[in-house]
C-alpha cells in the first residue's frame, strides 16, 4: 500500500482533494498532454495551473461548483450527480451519466 500513497504524496494531483480527477479526465477524454490538460482545466475553473493541486483553493471551489468533495459533506453532489456537474464544467460526456439519462428518460 505504501507505494501508491508514496507516489500520490510525492507527485500526484491528489484526485478530488484538489483537481486531479479533472486533469486526468481531460487526458483520457481528449488525449491532452499534462500541460494542455492543466491549462484547460485551470481556465474552466478560473484559477492558475498551480492552484489545481492546492487543496486550500480547490476545496472551496469544488464545493461551490458542486463537483464532489473528499469529505462527506451533507447535501453535496456525490457519485453520478457530481459527475453530471463535471460534464457541464468541462464540456464533455461521461459514459455513466449518459446511461443515467437513458434510464431516467
Amino acid at each position: 500500500m505504501g507505494m501508491p500513497i508514496a507516489h500520490i504524496m510525492a507527485s500526484g494531483m491528489t484526485g478530488i482533494r484538489a483537481a486531479g480527477d479533472l486533469v486526468a479526465r481531460m487526458q483520457f477524454d481528449k488525449n491532452m498532454r499534462i500541460g494542455e490538460a492543466k491549462d484547460f482545466v485551470a481556465k474552466k475553473l478560473g484559477v492558475s495551473t498551480a492552484d489545481l493541486s492546492d487543496e486550500y483553493v480547490m476545496r472551496e471551489l469544488r464545493e461551490e461548483l458542486d463537483i464532489g468533495v473528499i469529505t462527506s459533506v451533507p447535501g453535496c453532489a456525490k457519485g453520478i450527480a457530481a459527475k453530471m456537474n463535471i460534464e457541464k464544467l468541462l464540456g464533455i460526456d461521461i459514459n455513466c451519466c449518459d446511461k443515467f439519462r437513458e434510464i431516467t428518460g
Partner: protein, 355 residues
Amino acid sequence: MATEYFLRMGDGQKIFMTKEDIRADIEAGSADAADLGDIPALTEDQMDKMLDIIISPGRIVGVEPGMEVPVTHDIGAIRIDGDQGNSGVGIPSSRLVGSMMHERAFGADTMELGHIDYSYKPVKPVISQECQTMEVCQQNMIIPMLYGAMPNMGLYYTPDGPFENPGDLMKAFKISEAQDSIFHAAEHGIRDMVWIMQRLQHVGCDGVNFDTIGAAGDGDMYASLNSIEALRKEFPGIYIEAGMAGELVLGMHGELEYDGTVLAGLWPHQQAPLIAKAGANVFGPVCNTNTSRTSAWNLGRSVTFMKAAVEASTIPCHVDMGMGVGGIPMLETPPIDAVTRASKAMVEIAGVDGI
C-alpha cells in the same frame, strides 16, 4: 574519508556510496538505455539534477509545487482486499469500498475495477458480476473509473487454454507451428477482450486499462493493439489506457506486425506511436529494474528510456512505476525514500504526463 550517501540496490537493500560513485552509476545506467534503444543519453544537467534528488537529505522528496501529475491507479482494489501473500494487504472489504478508499482516503486521480485473477480471459464467466460491481462503483465514485486486467495470452496456451504451448513447440523446433499457435491465441484473445469491454461499456464504465501488455511477447502486444483498435471504433468516447509489461516486446513469434511495423524488439519510444495509432488515450511505458544494480543506475536507465518515450508519444504517458519497474526496487514493500525519489525524477526529468 569522502561523505557517503544512502541509496538502494534494485532489490531494496540499503547501501552507501560517494557522490562521485552515484553520479557514475547514473551515467552508466543512462548510457545502457541509450545504447539499447538508440536514444539520447541524459544531459550533464539532467544527470546532475538526478544526483541532487538521490542525495537529498530528507527521507521523502516531492516534485516542485505546480509540477504534480495525475497518478493513475492500476490493479484495482486488489491491493486492499487481496490476500494472496503478495502486495495485497488482505483487508476484508468489497471492491467498492476498496475503490472508494483510493478515491477518498488516498487521493488517487483515477481508479479501476479488477477481479482477483486480474486477467481478461477469466472475466468471461463472471461478466455479470463485473458489470454489476462496475455500475455500483460508477454510481458512487467521482474520479475516472476504468476496468483493468492483463491480456495474459499465456492463459490461451496448454495446459490452461486450447492452443498448443509455443514454448514447447519451439523447443521441438516446430517454429511455424509455434507461430500459428501464437497467432490463433491472439485472435481468440482479441475476441474475448472486446466482448468483455462491450458489456462493461454498456453499464457506464469509463473505459479500459490493458495492464502488462506484451507479458507473453509480441502475440500479446498484437492482441492488445487490435483490441484497442476495435474498441475505439465501436466506442469513440471510451477511455483507453495501454500499459506495458516490460521495456522490450519479446519476439516469441517474431513476425507479427501492426500498421506495417514488426512488433518484436520494440523499445518504449517505438511502442508509443503504435499505441497511439491503435487508439489509446494514455500510454504506460515500462523500464525494468535490475535487482543487481543500484537505484542510481536503475533510475538513470529508466528516466532515459521514459524521456525518449514521452518525446516520441503523441498521447499522454503515464509511466509504470510499480514494484520492480521505473527505477522502483523489486520488493513488495518498496522503501518510501526510493519510491519518492524515482517519482520526482520521472516527473521533473523525464517529463511524464502521469504515473
